[in-house]
């Protein structure tokens, strides 16, 4: 891989975030982590190539992150992960989320989704 892809993981559960991060690093992605909305905005000083987004955050909802992202940069694919709320198709469309993965999910599935959406960025 000529250039490492930058993936931002926004998830408040420390353990789950660390598991996802370990997988992404092993798959040669560059990973930044954010447990909160505030931290997510900090991490987006560099535009991520893809974002994994939990809907339930302690200081906001994942949709707030998506909204902020939409206002500040374009073309970042979003994979939504959530255990409690299943997003409506309208929400997915509004925030330009590419995929939804309900918790608990198979790690292989998440990696497959990342692979599916990440190249569209590198090609453009």
């Amino acid at each position: 891989m000529a250039q490492q892809l930058f993936v931002l993981v926004v998830e408040d559960d420390d353990l789950l975030r660390s598991i996802i991060t370990r997988n992404l690093r092993a798959a040669k992605y560059m990973v930044f982590e954010a447990p909160t909305f505030r931290k997510a905005i900090d991490e987006m000083s560099v535009k991520p190539n893809l974002m994994i987004l939990d809907i339930n955050l302690p200081d906001a909802t994942g949709w707030d992150v998506a909204e902020w992202l939409e206002e500040h940069m374009t073309g970042v694919p979003i994979i939504v992960i959530s255990g409690a709320v299943k997003p409506t198709p309208a929400q997915m469309k509004k925030y330009q989320a590419n995929a939804f993965l309900p918790k608990p999910f198979d790690m292989e599935e998440l990696l497959a989704l990342i692979e599916q959406y990440a190249p569209t960025i590198t090609n453009s």
Partner: protein, 507 residues
């Protein structure tokens, strides 16, 4: 106890004259005797005419005070006394002169006539008073019914009013339970009537009148009037009064029942809401650790990945730790149901609290690693009877609570000391503390301190502290929560220290 229907209800009366009142006869005799004594001493200066007048005053006074029967007795006694003491020959009931006999007869006739007049006036006045009393009673009753919305309290008040107004020795209202609202009853009795049931003489003197309460043609309850004396009868006003009472009572009962039914429906609805909320909270709480287990396991299972030892260990630790997490959720739920059903029965054996605290700290070592834990156990604490597993559970819940609500790297303080006959265990943190308004509900089931947007996200069912309370109370102790003066929350529970039995009691 004899039963009667309403029409024959004897009535102790609202100050109605009572012909059998023994006090009245005693007063009549005493009045005549006193007047006779005084006049005997002053007989040298009194004419027979004055003597008749003095007796007339006594007769009228008795008529005013008690009634016709008593005043007739007073008249007859006065005639006999005049004849015996003041008419020649004295100390004999013979009358020598014809005009003396005539005077006596005229006095008797006049006294009887006056008695009748006075008694009638008296009765009319008392009837008017009773009419007023009945009216004001009905007013008070309707006011009570309008004001009092609690059925039990309403019945108590009404029973009390009815007893006072009718001069009953007891008044009971018993409601049947057609709508599943629970049988409600009220009892009002004279204080001195407490021993009635055990005293056969008194018991046989009392009569209970049963008045059915109905709704449409269905019986809804019974009004029981216990009368102190079975000989008297109910007057028209009293009958009407009881009927009005019963009518108003039926309306009030109906209204209260409808209200109570509405309240119960609301309670059921809220219970259902709570159940739904609990189920969704449980689902969310279980899904978080399940997600970590699933992702860690599928990471290890992914054939495309090659993991080094450190990663593999991390995944396996995650799986193991989150399995414990789920297990804690499940045991908390089981504890809640045990507490709820009153099945929390601690198997108490003497344990040293220090050892239990050490065990908990050791088990939570990894999760507490970011906090400095400061433990202070007062030296020389006795062993205290406790269910080690349950107290361990209570301490674990308190510490997990600290972990949930305090930022990493803040210290946690655990202390145990003796306070009189109690062992006091305290778990304190240096977090944000508890909003004072929320302190009272803290130990309620499903209660969680409302998360501040700035603090870290708090998940959980809000069961932990309610479990601590259930466990500690099952041990005979108490729980409390407060804010530390320097900031942070402080939870305390106590366990009773058994007192040594003093030697002079053990024989």
């Amino acid at each position: 106890m004899a039963m009667r229907d309403l029409a024959t209800l004897p009535f102790r009366s609202i100050a109605r004259p009572r012909w059998y009142d023994p006090l009245g006869y005693a007063a009549a005799l005493l009045g005549v005797a006193t007047a006779t004594g005084i006049m005997w001493l002053a007989r040298s200066i009194l004419s027979l005419g004055s003597i008749y007048l003095v007796y007339m005053v006594v007769v009228v006074a008795v008529a005013v005070g008690w009634g016709l029967a008593q005043s007739i007795v007073a008249s007859a006694t006065a005639v006999l006394a005049t004849n015996f003491f003041f008419i020649q020959p004295i100390f004999s009931f013979t009358v020598a002169a014809f005009q003396d006999a005539l005077a006596l007869a005229i006095f008797l006739a006049l006294a009887t006539l006056t008695s009748q007049l006075v008694a009638r006036l008296r009765r009319e006045a008392s009837d008017a008073r009773r009419g007023e009393l009945i009216e004001s009673t009905l007013y008070v009753l309707s006011e009570t019914i309008n004001r009092q919305h609690n059925l039990g309290a309403l019945l108590d008040e009404v029973a009390g009013q009815l007893r006072l107004v009718l001069g009953l020795s007891a008044c009971d209202i018993e409601l049947d339970d057609p709508g599943g609202l629970g049988v409600v009853s009220a009892h009002s009795a004279e204080a001195e009537d407490v021993g009635v049931e055990s005293d056969e003489g008194q018991e046989s003197a009392a009569t209970v009148v049963r008045v059915p309460l109905t709704r449409g043609d269905r019986a809804t309850g019974t009004l029981l009037l216990t009368l102190p004396d079975p000989k008297k009868r109910l007057g028209d006003e009293e009958s009407r009064l009881v009927n009005s009472f019963v009518e108003s009572l039926q309306t009030a009962i109906e209204r209260a029942r409808l209200q109570q039914a509405a309240v119960q429906t609301e309670v059921l609805r809220r219970t259902d809401e709570l159940r739904v909320a609990m189920l969704s909270a449980v689902a969310h709480d279980l899904r978080t650790p399940l997600t970590s287990i699933k992702t860690a396991a599928t990471s290890l299972l992914n054939p495309k990945m090659v993991w080094d030892d450190e990663d593999s260990q991390a995944f396996l630790h995650a799986i193991s730790g989150e399995t414990d997490h789920i297990n804690r959720i499940v045991s908390n739920l089981l504890d809640v149901s045990r507490i709820e059903e009153g099945r929390m029965r601690p198997e108490k054996k003497p344990h040293h609290i220090g050892a239990v605290i050490d065990n908990v700290l050791q088990r939570l070592q990894q999760r507490l690693s970011e906090h400095a834990v400061d433990t202070r156990i007062e030296p020389g604490l006795p062993e205290v009877p406790m269910d080690e597993v349950e107290i361990d559970e209570a301490l674990t819940n308190l510490l997990e609570n600290c972990l949930k609500y305090t930022p990493p790297s803040t210290p946690i303080h655990i202390s145990a000391r003796r306070r009189a006959n109690m062992l006091e265990v305290e778990v304190a943190d240096e977090g944000a503390g508890i909003p004072p308004a929320q302190l009272p509900q803290l130990f309620d089931r499903f209660y969680r301190v409302r998360a501040d947007r700035k603090t870290k996200g708090v998940h959980g069912l809000g069961l932990g502290l309610s479990i601590v309370k259930g466990i500690v109370e099952a041990h005979g102790g108490k729980v409390s929560a407060a804010n530390r003066p320097g900031g942070g929350a402080c939870f305390t529970f106590t366990l009773p220290i058994p007192q040594p039995v003093s030697s002079d009691l053990t024989t």
